[in-house]
């Protein structure tokens, strides 16, 4: 059994909407299961968090995490979908991955997503900029 299949087997019904491509594995995960999945990827499988991508789709806001298994070049990408666009909230993973601190702050800054239990939930890139409006990456969808 390959590592991806092992991962799928271990996660069971915690993950769904699986898309498997060559060295890429995208899947959905519920906010309540996010920390469990991230803990397994980071601590058990020793994957490295490359970054996380915020997106606004018709069905809600998406946070797509990119975990790289550097031993074989495989990417594991858990996706959390937040349907509440007005007050988006996701569990922070900073307690598990220290390197996620800036990544989550940037998503908060650009997309307005609040990360629960983040040690320093403040803007990262537009902190000192009075001209840029709130949640700048969502502007074109609102106008």
């Amino acid at each position: 059994m390959g590592k991806v299949q092992e991962f799928i087997h271990y996660m069971g019904n915690k993950i769904d909407h699986k898309i498997e491509k060559k060295k890429r594995f995208y899947f959905n995960v519920k906010n309540t299961d996010l920390r469990f999945v991230v803990d397994y990827l980071f601590n058990k499988m020793e994957c490295r968090l490359s970054t996380a991508t915020g997106m606004e789709m018709y069905h809600g806001l998406e946070i797509l995490y990119h975990f790289s298994d550097d031993k074989n070049g495989q990417y594991y990408c858990p996706r959390v979908v937040i349907e509440d666009k007005e007050n988006p909230k996701v569990n922070s993973i900073v307690g598990i991955v220290q390197g996620a601190e800036w990544i989550e702050r940037e998503i908060f800054d650009f997309w307005g997503v609040n990360f629960i239990d983040h040690p320093r939930m403040e803007k990262l890139l537009t902190l000192n900029n009075d001209i840029i409006k709130e949640k700048p990456m969502r502007m074109r969808r609102e106008s």
Partner: protein, 396 residues
């Protein structure tokens, strides 16, 4: 003793990109560091979503002057990943050739700056002198010394002229011997060793926790290199070693970069040899991109450059995420700067290669109580090297 704050930046001649560091010092020891970024935010991701896939390549080429191959390469890899597009063999060698030339000139640029920061101006002049032929090689291959503009989805836009290969080889032979000479001189220098060993240590555990990449993590013993782990272009067709050190200090970061430069010359030689014999097209004609998502990455001189593209089937991305290596390497200051002396702060900050521009004029230490600038951080760093050098020379 009362604690003082040392502000560095945000708009500062020493920093090529505007960033703000605030060092908290207790006497001469740095006890904390706070970072503030965003002063140079240009909205590339937002702009890219209004451009076609090909226009996005030109856009991301302007993110960084030094990484002007790494971003376009990661960008085309992301688009190619959506549809699993094949690249002609000749184009794969050309991409690898340009990527490695960029690695050499970036590492030599850093070596020169690092030499200058610690008062080794000879090293600075050597490194930049031998960087010049590398830029000449870039010009021969692409037509430009920087911002090469040759990456395309499905291959490259410009072929390497067969008549230019002897000229490339001549330049490479010259660079090869000089780089070995500079590398040996730098890593065997007793003063340099005494000055940099044990300074600004980033432990293996911290490198993992902060998700550091590139020479910053490899110097701490993390054996990660995208060129080997997830090979694209011609990296699975050439021989090279991944350089890993173990101490995580500034000296090991120096050694990793120096030895990587020598490995790059080996890769370039193999690519040029192959370009003599491998003929054929350099570009696959890609007409459209299917709906889907793709990840592209490339081992830039500073570490992993990451691009994510999502397509809805039109000619432009609906989401383009970019993550440069400095974004994950700069937060490691929180681990590597604590406990070091103020005179080591400058070289520790420079050791992750965060796009420094060298000038000494206005980096000042500010005493909050007296509210006046007292002394110069660059002078502190250089005078420490002088003291060590004098010690080695018997106080002469």
């Amino acid at each position: 003793m009362s604690k003082n704050k040392i502000p560095i930046g945000p708009f500062h001649p020493l920093l090529e990109e505007a960033e703000y560091f605030e060092l908290t010092v207790d006497g001469e020891t740095v006890v904390d560091i706070d970072l503030e970024i965003g002063w140079m935010h240009r909205g590339h991701e937002f702009i890219s979503e209004q451009k076609s896939f090909t226009q996005s390549i030109y856009l991301v080429e302007r993110i960084c002057g030094i990484c002007s191959t790494s971003h376009p390469l990661a960008c085309v890899h992301a688009v190619e990943d959506i549809d699993n597009i094949d690249i002609p063999l000749r184009a794969r060698y050309i991409r690898t050739l340009v990527g490695e030339l960029e690695r050499i000139h970036s590492h030599l640029l850093w070596l020169g700056l690092a030499g200058h920061f610690i008062g080794y101006d000879t090293l600075w002049m050597w490194a930049w002198k031998y960087r010049e032929p590398v830029l000449r090689m870039c010009e021969i291959v692409s037509g430009n010394r920087n911002h090469y503009g040759i990456m395309r989805v499905g291959g490259v836009a410009k072929d390497v002229d067969t008549g230019a290969i002897p000229d490339l080889m001549k330049n490479l032979d010259m660079i090869d011997s000089k780089i070995v000479m500079v590398a040996n001189a730098a890593k065997d220098d007793p003063v340099l060793k005494a000055r940099l060993k044990g300074v600004g240590v980033l432990s293996y555990e911290d490198a993992i926790a902060y998700c550091a990449t590139g020479p910053t993590s490899r110097a701490s013993g993390v054996p990660s290199d995208i060129r080997r782990d997830d090979p694209t272009d011609a990296y699975d067709l050439v021989d090279f070693d991944v350089i890993v050190a173990s101490n995580g200090d500034v000296y090991d970061k120096l050694v990793v970069r120096l030895l990587e430069t020598i490995e790059s010359t080996k890769i370039i030689r193999q690519c040029i040899e192959k370009l003599k014999t491998v003929k054929g097209p350099i570009l696959n004609n890609v007409k459209e991109i299917s709906p889907g998502e793709g990840i592209g990455r490339y081992e830039a001189p500073r570490g992993e450059v990451f691009h994510y593209m999502r397509s809805d089937g039109t000619n432009r991305p609906i989401r383009h995420k970019v993550r440069a290596p400095s974004y994950v390497n700069i937060p490691t200051y929180s681990a590597s700067c604590k406990g070091i002396s103020v005179s080591d702060a400058l070289i520790t900050l420079a050791a992750v290669d965060p796009c420094y521009c060298c000038t000494e004029r206005s980096l000042k230490i500010k005493d909050i109580k007296k509210n006046k600038c007292s002394f110069n951080l660059l002078d502190l760093s250089r005078s420490k090297t002088k003291r060590i050098r004098r010690k080695f020379n018997g106080n002469k």
